[in-house]
Symmetry: C2
Subunit: 340 residues, 2 copies
DNA sequence: AAGTGGTATGCGAACGATTGCAGGATTGCT
DNA sequence: AGCAATCCTGCAATCGTTCGCATACCACTT
């Protein structure tokens, strides 16, 4: 089957290609005589016509595509965000280019360039890191851009994030309520806004509650299991008196902490309670199941897509940077502890 | 910044646009005088030229894009496959459209249509189900297509999969070696080739080893936790004598089975050993950790991309349908059992 | 009969890059 | 000096759609 074009239909229906174009465009179908319109549509479906989005994109200067840059496609927290974006776009018949920055500035720069070359109508990225400001702002001058999940404070870029400060506070609140008087936190990477938010929210609440806060001397380089274990070990080495609870900046690190505790003969929650972040599916399966913070990831994805589309359609930015509320999910890793 | 075109560079460098096009195309750069070539390149980078992939795509009939259809973006087994594809393509400066079929034939048909309209150079799908043959074959006539992970036996479509039959056999072999004489399996969806393969490989090996095979009267509708639990309950209800080991068609179902066992006061592995499939990260965290089958997902993604590119470049299909070898990862859910 | 307004269609020039063809300039050879 | 080969560049058409403009037709009004 050689591809069938507007010309073919035009010939088949005895009209000019431009008429076919109009007849097939819902926006302009009213400009063409109902009778011809029907004839054209019949011809189109008979020949199996399928518009050429590339040609259309060139002519209109709108491709109906959106570019997405994520740090790591394999990251389980990100998948629901991507789903949210895709599902939203599918309904608007736009398509999504997915790329990976791997938390590498150079690679980020390259994929952004590729996306611009592809003439995407907008770019969404969940991969922003402190230090990317200049690059991202420059891109944002050329195409509507939305920061999702991670944002860049003070950059003026449109963003839609989880309220991580509140998430950190929820964790602290929960621990304080359980009676803990000395708590610790294991931080994720310093150059990622979402971890900073968690850290700030947690620390602020703890301080204002007159509870002691201890921390290891380092932050996690990457928010992975081994880093959780390492930081927990570090903490055990460094402090004189152990905390009775630990807030890990994500579930993987929480599990790493659990391993470190076990290795030192400490039990959770009896000796030390543990809170994670993200409500990854694994938190239900661990022993003990881990108390964690649940985030509306899918919803965030949908909203990021909404925002991108809004930016495309009317070039004005939605006013307040949006942030979505997290929820605490209590499980045995904190519920079994009791001050004695 | 209004976009800069070949014309702009041409004007700036005092040559014709076609010369600019040649100078900038690595393939044809040798056709143009080294001196002019330099002048053109200088002008291009000075003006910040960035080719228009849309225009180029229209003219060349090649968009350097590939479409991917997955069943569920959130599925943790799929993420590494997507990464493999994306990482491979990134190096060839092609981009990936990602779409979701949600295991729905109608939706699959719609997204394939969209992809065709976008003039992708090839389509990769990990979402093929029995019953999709006609649709997929029809699409394959219009654009190179690769089935990944799931294939359609007898369809003649190019595919690259895991060797699930072997995976099933590995599970059986392991259990038989451990001394089990009566085993069961909890099947995933019937209309997905990878589950069928597991089922066949397992059953064949079990039979030829003169070990008794019992199964619940149903297969899982979706391969999820609740189905694993349901099938395990069903099995416990239905059989006179319980098996001493169960092969669940994926890790989630395995964990569901674990829950059902616990609910009936049965312990794993002492009473019943459990094997999962996929080596999802959760299998390490459960209690007990679950023996499972590990698959080279990322590698499969890379190879799927290779195959797609090969099909694009020379239209002949690589001869044998490829399938990649799985590996058994033994953990406590089977190692602690012993015949008495 | 001339003028006005509306509707339905055709015409042709874009969008930006690519490429077959042709021709001008240069070089080498006899 | 004459001729061919080689190298480099320009010309113009093309990919498939879209859209501003012009035009043709019809129906009314005055």
């Amino acid at each position: 089957m050689p591809k069938v074009t507007l010309q073919d239909i035009a010939a088949h229906a005895g009209v000019h290609a431009s008429t076919v174009s109009r007849a097939l465009d819902p926006e302009k179908a009213n400009l063409v005589n109902p009778e011809t319109r029907e004839r054209v549509r019949a011809a189109a479906s008979e020949l199996g016509y399928r518009g050429d989005a590339v040609a259309s994109g060139l002519r209109r200067g709108r491709t109906n595509t959106i570019g997405l840059v994520v740090a790591d496609i394999g990251n389980p927290f990100i998948a629901p965000v991507v789903r949210g974006i895709e599902n939203n776009l599918e309904g608007r018949n736009k398509m999504l280019f997915v790329t990976e920055s791997q938390d590498d500035h150079g690679r980020m720069s390259r994929v952004l360039d590729s996306l611009l070359g592809r003439r995407v109508d907008a770019i969404i990225t969940t991969a922003a890191r402190l230090g990317d400001e200049r690059l991202l702002r420059q891109v944002a001058e050329q195409v509507p851009m939305v920061l999702a999940v991670r944002h860049l404070p003070g950059s003026g870029l449109v963003s839609i994030t989880h309220d991580d400060e509140r998430g950190g506070r929820l964790a602290a609140e929960h621990l304080v309520q359980q009676g803990h008087r000395r708590v610790a936190q294991l931080r994720g990477s310093d150059d990622i806004s979402s971890f900073r938010g968690r850290g700030r929210g947690f620390a602020e609440y703890v301080e204002q509650s007159d509870v002691e806060l201890v921390e290891p001397s380092e932050s996690g380089r990457h928010p992975v299991l081994s880093e959780g274990r390492r930081l927990m070990e570090l903490l055990i080495d460094e402090v004189d008196e152990l905390p009775t609870a630990v807030f890990a900046h994500n579930d993987l690190m929480a599990f790493g902490a659990l391993q470190a505790l076990a290795a030192h003969g400490l039990s959770c929650p009896a000796d030390i309670a543990v809170v994670g972040y993200n409500d990854t599916i694994m938190t239900e399966f661990t022993d003990p199941p881990i108390t964690t913070i649940r985030l509306p990831d899918y919803e965030l994805g949908r909203m990021a897509a909404d925002t991108a589309v809004a930016l495309i359609e009317d070039d004005h930015r939605p006013d307040p940077p949006l942030s979505l509320p997290p929820v605490l999910v209590p499980r045995r890793s904190t519920l079994g502890w009791s001050s004695s």
